[in-house]
């Protein structure tokens, strides 16, 4: 008697087909994010040679090491290069075009399409760098970039010049979008004993305290031109929006206050802010000019309306969080309050951030929310036009407060895990996740506009 097979050919085929479909769907889901965030193009295989020391100043060795390490990191962090690892690179330090042998770089094991190289010197209190970017396959006219830097030699100069050169390469090879090597991140940290606003380089270096108020400082938002830092101060006087001048290094006056204002957000024109206030009884979204004129209420619906953010491309729309239907959801509207559109379909969604190209919202979402519900709060990216979304973090802890980098390729965010909060960074497709802060509790990061 023939045994009846449990799974016929048809069932197996159907199963395999659905697997394929799922894989394809997932791959496509990743693709639309990569395309929209300029991470999608074929990654260029780039080699960064160690720069040669062109002198014998005792400070030069440190400067050279710092430069090489920072240049390599910046190019790796950019997200658009397939970097040749140092172990696969030929063990040479060409200091000038005359010294470079392109075939060493174009052939295995390096297989580089592009190579950055040059020389660094410290002389008479100046740090001088010559840097080139060569196309390894174009032996006739390989030069893509030739840069020269000459700056007063200080403890951070080599690092700074490396940032500048990396940005030049990234811009040149990355379709004209500016690199982020000189951008900074503002965040709230309790490291000094009280919650204050801190600032660090985009890669976590140079962490330093900005405010010294001794109260609770939250929600830092730097202005588009980098001159003014808005943030929220909590004290027994209430919740106020404060302004710090980055140029004058002191607090300056923000003329709007009633004790219930928080979550400020700059419009891309640098003249207007949106914020949440309960001055009319219920937390609503308001807008004002930075000097306090044209104070206007934009929302008028029962339920908390908080965390506004402007469309940075147009300056004519706001995304924000509203609890008007119960648990908080992401909405968008025109900045005069019309055209309200709900974006999320349930769960608990907060902290929207609008991508620089105007196409995406990043936000924190707990899709199954409530006591004992499975899953946690993760960072999601949603395409505004289609409402399709992708989950970027998994099992990291409770994440919140995503903030886009100005190149649209990176997202910085907060992770709470085992009672501690850290600021992490990642590429906007969810890869390359790592922590930037290690000390104290760091939260609510905000990426500078340039």
């Amino acid at each position: 008697m023939e045994a009846t097979p449990r799974f016929g050919i048809r069932q197996v085929a159907a199963f395999l087909f659905s697997i394929l479909l799922l894989a394809t769907f997932s791959a496509q889901a990743q693709d639309w994010v990569r395309t929209g965030t300029n991470l999608g193009a074929q990654k260029i295989r780039l080699a960064a040679a160690d720069f040669k020391m062109a002198g014998n100043d005792p400070a030069l060795s440190n400067a050279q090491q710092s430069f090489n390490q920072v240049l390599y990191s910046d190019l790796t962090n950019a997200g658009i290069f397939d970097m040749v690892s140092k172990s696969l690179a030929p063990p040479v330090m060409p200091g000038s075009p005359q010294e470079i042998n392109l075939s060493q770089w174009s052939s295995a094991p390096a297989n580089a399409a592009m190579v950055a190289f040059g020389a660094i010197n410290v002389q008479n209190g100046r740090t001088i760098v010559y840097g080139w970017l060569f196309d390894t396959k174009n032996t006739q006219s390989p030069q893509v970039l030739g840069q020269q830097y000459n700056e007063a030699a200080g403890p951070n100069t080599a690092r700074h010049i490396a940032h500048e050169f990396a940005d030049a390469i990234i811009s040149r090879l990355g379709g004209g979008i500016n690199g982020i090597a000189e951008t900074t991140i503002f965040y709230s940290s309790d490291r000094s004993g009280a919650k204050e606003i801190w600032q660090m380089d985009y890669d976590g270096a140079n962490q330093h305290q900005i405010t010294h108020l001794g109260q609770i400082a939250l929600s830092p938002r730097i202005s588009p031109d980098g001159s003014r830092l808005a943030f929220n101060e909590l004290s027994s006087k209430g919740s106020t929006i404060r302004l710090y001048s980055m140029n004058l290094n002191r607090m300056v006056n923000f003329p709007i206050h009633d004790g219930t204002d928080f979550s400020p957000a700059w419009a891309p024109d640098g003249n207007n802010l949106a914020f949440s206030s309960s001055r009319s009884g219920d937390p609503e979204i308001w807008t004002t000019s930075a000097s306090g004129f044209n104070l206007r209420r934009v929302t008028a619906y029962r339920g908390p309306d908080v965390s506004p953010v402007w469309n940075p491309k147009t300056g004519t729309q706001l995304a924000w969080i509203s609890g008007r239907t119960g648990l908080p959801q992401v909405y968008i509207m025109d900045s005069d309050g019309t055209g309200v559109q709900r974006m999320t379909d349930g769960g608990y969604a907060t902290s929207p951030s609008w991508s620089p190209n105007g196409q995406f919202l990043a936000f924190a979402w707990s899709r199954h929310y409530g006591p004992g519900a499975p899953g946690g709060q993760d960072i999601y990216v949603m395409d505004i036009a289609s409402h399709r979304w992708i989950q970027l973090t998994h099992d990291l802890g409770r994440t919140d407060f995503p903030s886009w980098s100005p190149d649209g390729r990176h997202i910085v965010f907060e992770v709470a895990h085992h009672g501690r909060s850290e600021v992490w960074t990642m590429l906007a497709d969810g890869s390359e996740q790592h922590a930037l802060t290690k000390v104290g509790n760091s939260r609510m990061p905000n990426w500078s506009w340039k």
Partner: protein, 244 residues
């Protein structure tokens, strides 16, 4: 009748006098015999007290009077009264009770004043300490993601309002708090709504709104840090304190 009474009294007095004087055998040299009792009626005496002599509005005092040799006694505002007696009075304001006593020997008067004090002064906030405030004005607690006043919260509000009404010049700061789950900014709004709810409930219970200020700390200040429902409930609150 009165005459008879007076004669009897006189006779009694005379007898008493004689007995008394008779008891004291003074060895006087040929004392002159006492003069015969004069034919005079003793003057009336009167005495009136009020106990206590100072009261608050709504309280009462007891008038207590005694008179001698009186035929009629009256107290102004009350009328004719027995020659001795007590009466409870409850004047609304400071009153002097003037007693007039008349007798065969004349008349006399007496008075007692009942002082009615100001309405009891409550302690000003300068005397009310922060500790006393927090002992007596209890926080109210909220459900998950909610800013509605639950029945147990309403009970606390009622008790808190009673205490606050007895200290009418104390100013109140209400701060709203959240548990540490959920987003920092959304929780600032939730905390504000909790403080506002508590303020509304207090004003509905009679506390003047102008005495109350409401702020939010969101999830930025925690009362406990355990990751369990009991601690989370502790953090979901509106807390009252003495405002400056």
């Amino acid at each position: 009748m009165k005459h008879k009474k007076n004669s009897a009294l006189a006779a009694a007095a005379l007898t008493a006098f004689l007995i008394v004087t008779g008891c004291h055998h003074k060895k006087a040299a040929a004392p002159e015999p006492p003069a015969p009792p004069a034919e005079t009626t003793p003057a009336p005496t009167a005495n009136i007290t009020a106990t206590p002599d100072t009261i608050n509005p709504g309280q009462s005092a007891v008038l207590n009077w005694t008179t001698t040799d009186t035929t009629d006694v009256s107290i102004e505002g009350i009328g004719a009264v027995p020659s001795s007696g007590t009466k409870t009075v409850s004047p609304a304001e400071t009153t002097t009770y003037h007693l007039t006593a008349r007798g065969d020997g004349g008349s006399t008067d007496a008075s007692a004043t009942v002082t009615v004090g100001q309405a009891q002064q409550p302690n000003t906030s300068g005397q009310l300490t922060e500790a006393e405030f927090e002992q007596n004005v209890k926080p109210v607690f909220f459900d998950y993601d909610s800013y509605s006043i639950r029945p147990d919260a309403q009970q606390a509000i009622t008790a808190d309002a009673a205490f606050l009404q007895s200290h009418p010049s104390a100013k109140i700061l209400i701060a709203g708090y959240c548990d540490d789950r959920g987003s920092a900014e959304y929780n600032l709004a939730l905390g504000q709504n909790r403080a506002n709810s508590a303020k509304t409930a207090l004003t509905q219970a009679g506390v003047n709104a102008s005495r109350i200020r409401s702020i939010s700390y969101g999830k930025e200040k925690q009362f406990c840090t355990e990751e369990n429902e009991s601690c989370w409930q502790q953090n979901r609150r509106a807390q009252f304190s003495l405002d400056q």
